[in-house]
């Protein structure tokens, strides 16, 4: 069992100098669900967005450290960011479907990559919708606007959209925060299937979700990595007092 | 495939960035040309003569621009006195008082007024407004500063209404609800809470509207009588005047390239440019500063 991502001593800063993350070092195991949890402002989302260089769009800069994915430092300026983003997909907290049809949402990334063959595109659409467990619900209306779907369905379309590009790593930033329990369940079930093939990094929107899904867990508090352990161990016998206080609800 | 994409995108991005700066280039260009053709006037006409009170360029080379300045001033002030109350009032009505369905009718209508060509307004001014004022106010002629002011007011109102209405609309609902919760009537809320909150936007609208009035050419040329007399008293409102803009438009066709008259007309253009520059820079800095203040308060 190998680490797909290795984070070495990463520190992040905002443009005004305040620190977002301090000296983070951890590994993310391949083909497993790693959960980054902790109270708000801990730096979890920021870390997530570093992994596919989405932070390039914001005012956050890495002041030191490396992020190695398959041995290559993705923070290196020479990195092919476009290829990186196809390899490392992300699902956001609010479902954001593009103002186009369901089918077009799914083929968007592939068309950007230059894929024009209709057969390949149709295959990708069907494959990714099945992986996201939503094929049965939408296969009759692929050419309708994606905005017509419910929130839970839209979020699974966002997941399918990422899967269509056949990534190796999937990042999820509180993906079920706006969803009802049934939709949440469907998303979590999909993740448990997907982890057999993909490396998954999840920021959960509740401790309970973390407990349900984590193979590995990392507790972040105010920019610091406080503890890292296997999922079962973390949530039953945490080693640090701060972790235990947070898990048992003494602060949050 | 990726490489070609990058090359094409690089060129497109460069072109877009260059286009962004085009506005600055044009302003500089305009300023430069006005200087180039207008500054010689300062060399050819002594300053005292330039700011004298007789504008008779054809006979006797009298280039006193004061009558033109006062002409523009009196027409603009008159326009402002009409446009400000009506403009703000209409904006308040559309934003705070009118029912939804009426708002959908009124906004396009006011926008329509903003699109009416000034020459059409001037045309109606000559045929309808001027004779009306002549009979109604018992004047020797209907082509007066007042006629111009009324029409200019009509031209400035749409600008004031659209900017002020946007500003009023942008005032957070919470402000109004807070006032109502304290027992204020809707009327009191508008005047004591909403309007002051939108103060900077409304002011900007007023300044932009007045800026439009100062710069109007065709309407004033057609209805203000074109008599370059010094307009200093209230009575001047009811007699013919001449604005700077009308002077340029009327006389430019008859001057020979490079003559003193030609240079003086460009000089007047330069003065107009500087006036509008001052008005607009002030208006935008008021807006910028207010935006910063609003961001601080609301955050």
């Amino acid at each position: 069992m190998v680490d797909k991502i290795i984070i070495e001593n990463l520190s992040l800063q905002y443009s005004d100098g305040t620190e977002s993350l301090r000296g983070i070092s951890m590994g993310i195991r391949e083909k497993a669900v790693t959960v980054l949890f902790g109270p708000a402002g801990g730096g979890k989302s920021t870390l997530l967005r570093c992994l596919n260089r989405l932070n390039d769009l914001t005012e956050v800069k890495a002041s030191q450290g490396r992020i190695l994915i398959d041995g290559e430092n993705v923070l290196d300026p020479k990195t092919d960011v476009i290829a990186l983003r196809r390899k490392v997909g992300i699902v956001f907290a609010r479902p954001v479907v593009l103002p186009i049809s369901i089918r077009q949402n799914l083929t968007y990334g592939l068309e950007l990559a230059g894929e024009k063959r209709k057969s390949k595109l149709d295959d990708a659409v069907e494959r990714s919708l099945k992986l996201a467990a939503i094929w049965d619900e939408v296969n009759e209306r692929l050419d309708e606007p994606a905005i017509a779907l419910s929130g839970g369905q839209q979020q699974r379309i966002c997941l399918a959209r990422v899967l269509a590009l056949q990534p190796e790593i999937i990042l999820l930033d509180e993906p079920t925060s706006g969803l009802d329990p049934i939709s949440t369940g469907k998303v979590e079930a999909a993740l448990l299937e997907l982890k057999k093939e993909y490396t998954i990094v999840l920021v959960p929107h509740s401790i309970q979700q973390a407990g349900r899904t984590a193979d590995f867990a990392a507790f972040f508090l105010q920019g610091e990595l406080v503890e890292y352990d296997e999922g079962k161990a973390m949530f039953t016998t945490p080693k640090e007092k701060r972790t235990e206080d947070y898990i048992t609800g003494r602060f949050g | 495939m990726e490489k070609t994409l990058n090359w094409r995108e690089f060129i497109i991005t460069r072109l877009i960035k260059a286009s962004g700066y085009s506005a600055v280039v044009f302003v500089a260009l305009i300023f430069f040309f006005l200087l180039r053709e207008g500054l010689p006037a300062l060399a050819e006409v002594p300053l005292s003569a330039l700011f004298s009170i007789r504008w008779y360029p054809i006979e006797g080379n009298n280039f006193g621009i004061l009558p033109l300045l006062t002409g523009s001033l009196i027409v603009t002030i008159g326009a402002a006195l009409i446009a400000i109350p009506f403009g703000i009032g209409t904006a308040v009505y559309i934003s705070e008082i009118a029912p939804r369905w009426m708002r959908e009718i009124l906004k396009p209508l006011v926008e329509l007024l903003g699109g009416l060509p000034s020459v059409v307004l001037g045309f109606l001014g000559i045929l309808v407004l001027a004779p009306f004022l002549r009979r109604f106010l018992d004047l020797p002629t209907g082509l007066t500063a007042l006629t111009g002011s009324i029409l200019l007011g009509g031209i400035a109102v749409p600008t004031i209404v659209s900017v002020a209405e946007d500003a009023l609309d942008a005032v957070p609902r919470a402000y109004r609800e807070g006032a109502w919760a304290l027992g204020a009537t809707r009327w009191q809320t508008i005047w004591r809470v909403t309007l002051p909150a939108a103060r900077s936007g409304v002011l900007t609208g007023v300044m932009l509207g007045i800026g439009r009035a100062i710069g109007e050419t065709m309407t004033v040329m057609m209805v203000t009588g074109n008599a370059p007399v010094l307009a200093l008293s209230l009575g001047s409102l009811f007699s013919p005047v001449r604005t700077m803009t009308a002077t340029i438009a009327a006389e430019m066709g008859e001057v020979s390239n490079g003559s003193t008259h030609y240079h003086v007309l460009f000089f007047i253009g330069l003065v107009l440019f500087l006036i509008s520059l001052a008005v607009n820079v002030t208006a935008s800095s008021v807006l910028f500063r207010a935006q910063k203040r609003a961001e601080r308060i609301l955050s």
């Binding site: 983003r85 593009l98 | 995108e9 260009l29 040309f33 008082i97 009416l116 009537t185 800026g211």
Partner: protein, 287 residues
């Protein structure tokens, strides 16, 4: 005591509202009246001959075709120069520019361009295009002048339209491997297009009705033929109306109102098209 107090406030409100409502109607009614008035007075002059024939008898009879064609050419010329440049500048401001000193300079420049009197544009056009660049009094010189005048309107409305597209779309697009320009072309520009189009039409509508900028740069009063090249001068509706209503003795009133009506119809049609595009886009919006 309390009852008198509250009565007073409500009375003030009633009076105040009535006053404001009156003001609004006094502003709006003349607009409608103007349009109806011109329609009624000028309607009788409109005929096939009027719209497609040439003027005769020193403009006092015949048609106004050259003026109509001229206005059409000028509007087209203005569009050719101002639309691509204006939209590109708007894309820069909305998608690329950061919030620094230079960007503020650009914005101040745009506000200034918007406020420059139309006759000063005429002077500038005369100085630069007609004389310095030796293009002469022509459709080209007039179009270039009108373009610079129309630029700020197009830039402002286009930028506003681009900004209204939700930022989330851009983030999602980039996260799927798009470059910034691909995101703009495929998503942002596509969604902002109706708003941009509305702004373009409103800007061109204003250009079509302007007289002062074309006075010394391209307008002519009497031309025996239609313009054959961009380097020819041309007749134009606003200029034509101006001259026939102020400088031609014994000008039949009919023709004056008819010309005003044609110009008004031109402008109003553009306005209606713009409004139609705007409301249809709002209804079909997927966000």
């Amino acid at each position: 005591m309390k009852r008198i107090f509250s009565l007073d406030r409500h009375l003030t409100e009633r009076i105040g509202f009535s006053l404001i409502t009156l003001m609004a109607f006094l502003t709006v009614v003349p607009i409608v009246a103007t349009v109806i008035y011109i329609l009624s007075k000028g309607g009788s002059a409109i005929s096939w001959n009027f719209l497609t024939g040439f003027p005769s008898d020193g403009m006092r009879a015949g048609g106004i075709l050259p003026a109509i064609v001229g206005t059409f050419y000028l509007t087209l010329g203005t569009a050719i120069f101002s639309v691509p440049l204006g939209i590109a500048a708007a894309i820069y401001l909305s998608e690329y520019a950061s919030d620094n000193r230079w960007t503020r300079l650009i914005r101040i420049a745009i506000i200034n361009l918007a406020g420059i009197p139309s006759v000063v544009y005429g002077l500038f056009g005369l100085g630069l295009f007609v004389l310095f660049l030796k293009i002469g009094t022509s459709i080209l010189a007039a179009s270039l002048t009108l373009s610079i005048m129309t630029l700020p309107v197009i830039i402002s409305t286009a930028e506003e339209s681009l900004r209204s597209v939700p930022q989330a779309f851009r983030t999602v697009s980039i996260s799927l491997g798009a470059t910034r320009w691909q995101t703009i072309r495929r998503i942002v520009l596509k969604e902002a297009l109706p708003g941009i189009l509305t702004g373009v039409i409103l800007g061109l509508e204003r250009a079509a009705g302007e007289t002062a900028p074309i006075l010394f740069t391209g307008a002519a009063f009497f031309l025996p033929r239609l313009p054959g090249s961009p380097f020819d001068a041309t007749m134009a509706l606003p200029y034509h109306l101006f001259v026939i209503s102020t400088q031609v003795p014994d000008m039949p009133i009919q023709i004056q109102y008819g010309t005003a009506l044609v110009l008004l119809a031109f402008v109003l049609t553009m306005n209606l098209i713009a409004t139609f595009i705007r409301s249809r886009a709002r209804a079909r919006r997927q966000w």
